[in-house]
Amino acid sequence: MFLVAGVLLVFGANRGGGPKTQQERIDLLTSNLACPTCSGESVFESRAVAAEAIRSEVARQVAAGLRTDDEIMGYIEQRFGGQVLLVPRADGLDALVWALPVAVAVFSLFVLFSAFAKWRGNRPPSPSNDDELIVARALDERES
């Protein structure tokens, strides 16, 4: 099972990923941009005027071939602000979006493990032979 998982992982990591054609590049870029006038829709999905204008601009820049995908995203972000990015950047203050949940999860696990360890430590000790003798005697007396 581990072998299969390992092989799949290696295959997945080395597979030629990323968009192949210009249209795939446009679709990928616009899927990662939020429509500035709608709620919860990407530029790729939306039919709003602003989304269509952004889609056309992305298509124009991809066709011109002068900018990389990152530069095109940067251009749109510079015009419409960081809120247009559906996937926040992982640098500067924005990195907190990624780092904070991980930090909170690690801290919560630490607190949980500490609490479990403490509870395990507080468990009452096993009864000694004398304790068992006292209980047995008490039960005998009760029955007689």
């Binding site: 204008a53 952004i54 056309s56 601009e57 124009r60 510079q78 015009r79 500490s114 609490a115």
Partner: protein, 183 residues
């Protein structure tokens, strides 16, 4: 005991953060200013070129030397219609000044015919620039109309006004910018 202290410390920290959050919400001014922020402010205006509905060429860079006002407009948008008389007044006032600002309408998702009809009915003899595929709107980061931008004679973006203009706002802003940025 140590763990109890840690829990107390974390609870106190969370409490402080939540309290600060509410404090910020309480103190923060609502974001309803018409004069809006943009990363383009203080930067050279995007290089845009297009044509007017009359077929003349429009290259923003060639307008250097004059104050330029770009008004993003759609003839069916109510705030655009409402502010139109103010733009007519502004254009008239500026035309009588030696260094008067040039006003341009940037057509946003509208046909040349509708624009011609609108201006024939409501006045305004300044140039109306077509924006095929919204390239100019994207270059300025305009998502909704109306929006009005002021560009100084050096081609630097100086002001962005989002939403409907109010009486005298545009004239006042151009005058203030003229005083601040004309050497």
């Amino acid at each position: 005991m140590k763990s109890k202290n840690l829990v107390k410390f974390v609870s106190a920290a969370v409490g402080v953060v939540v309290a600060m959050f509410f404090l910020v919400l309480l103190v923060a001014e609502p974001d309803n200013d018409t004069v809006a922020r943009s990363p383009l402010l203080g930067q050279p205006a995007p290089a845009i070129s297009s044509r007017t509905i009359d077929g003349e060429s429009f290259v923003l860079e060639r307008r250097k030397g004059s104050w330029v006002v770009l008004n993003f407009f759609n003839s069916t948008c109510v705030p655009c219609i409402n502010e139109h008389p103010l733009l007519v007044d502004f254009a008239e006032a500026e035309s009588s000044k030696p260094d008067g600002a040039e006003l341009y309408t940037i057509i946003n998702d509208d046909s040349s015919e509708s624009i011609r009809d609108f201006f024939a009915r409501n006045g305004g003899d300044w140039s109306k620039v077509t924006d095929d595929n919204g390239a100019i709107a994207v270059a300025f980061g305009v998502a909704r109309v109306p929006e009005t931008w002021i560009i100084d004679p050096n081609g630097v973006v100086r002001l962005r006004i989002t939403g409907e203009l109010t009486e005298g706002l545009l004239g006042r802003q151009v005058e203030m910018l003229r005083e601040d940025f004309t050497s």
